[in-house]
């Protein structure tokens, strides 16, 4: 039983990449829900984006493809754009409203 489990863990397969990507995605989503500070919410979002890259690379390795790495490159570029815009929004939010936590931005509360 234990030997077969160990043997299963030593064989490289695509599911382990998926499991790791899923765990990291869950951690990132959990951080996005739990965190109050806007900057740390964005950082959790970066973690979730990176987990998707892990899944892409795992599929590439197991199927000898190259396309997933190209999509991962696009994801990195997208994350850079998202970080620039998001941090600009944070700076302007702080400058205009003196708010940096999500529970301080209550202007649209009905």
């Amino acid at each position: 039983m234990i030997e077969s489990l160990v043997a299963k863990f030593l064989v490289q397969n695509v599911e382990q990449y998926f499991v790791l990507a899923f765990v990291l995605l869950g951690i990132g989503l959990f951080g996005m829900m739990v965190r109050k500070n806007l900057i740390t919410i964005l950082m959790s979002l970066e973690l979730a984006l990176n987990s998707v890259n892990i899944a892409f690379v795992g599929i590439d390795k197991m199927n000898s493809l190259i396309d997933g790495q190209i999509f991962a490159l696009f994801t990195i570029a997208l994350a850079a754009a998202e970080a620039a815009v998001g941090l600009g929004i944070i700076i302007s939010l702080f400058r205009l409203r003196k708010a940096e936590n999500v529970n301080e931005i209550i202007d649209l509360k009905g």
């Binding site: 695509v14 739990v34 892990i54 490159l73 990195i76 570029a77 620039a84 600009g88 302007s92």
Partner: protein
């Protein structure tokens, strides 16, 4: 075998650092945990044979974006940042069981041996050209329009960030 050990090592490091990202209260420490997670993920990329992607991860994410975050943290006032409660504990306690159930489900599925793996197909191409040039060939032939669109997106986001971050005289307290 060796790449498997490297995968488990880097994977566990990235998970530990991800938990640090979620749980640390000081934002500077959060940036440091995020740096650790990103470096471990680039290690996973290297061990999986995606050298170009790992190098770009190190150059773009670890250097550029993390430094960017530290700049932003220095731009907001430190006293207020440190005084406030950093976590939404009620939501955390409410959501945690569902996350745990999802994880248990994923591990059961992975251990029960659902397989998606296939045989090697394009390995000869990557053997002949190597990782970086193969990605370059694909990127500038098959995915050329996506590449161009991505460059336009980066330009638009740069303009948007400059517009959003400019100084205004009026504040709305």
């Amino acid at each position: 075998m060796l790449s498997q050990i490297a995968f488990y090592l880097f994977g566990s490091i990235s998970i530990i650092c991800g938990l640090g990202v979620v749980s640390a209260s000081n934002p500077i420490y959060v940036v440091l945990w995020l740096l650790g997670a990103l470096i471990a993920i680039s290690g996973i990329f290297f061990s999986a044979g995606a050298e170009l992607l790992g190098a770009l991860q190190l150059m773009v994410y670890v250097v550029a974006i993390a430094v960017f975050y530290i700049l932003i943290i220095t731009a907001v006032p430190w006293r207020k940042l440190h005084k406030n409660e950093q976590h939404n504990r009620l939501i955390g306690v409410a959501v945690l069981p569902f996350v745990a159930i999802l994880y248990v489900e994923a591990f059961i599925v992975a251990l029960s041996g659902v397989s998606l793996s296939k045989n090697k197909i394009i390995e000869t191409i990557t053997k002949n050209y190597g990782n970086a040039s193969t990605i370059g060939i694909k990127l500038f032939s098959t995915y050329f329009w996506a590449f161009e669109l991505m460059s336009v997106l980066l330009l638009i986001s740069m303009i948007g960030a400059i517009l959003l971050g400019r100084k205004e005289e009026k504040t709305y307290d």
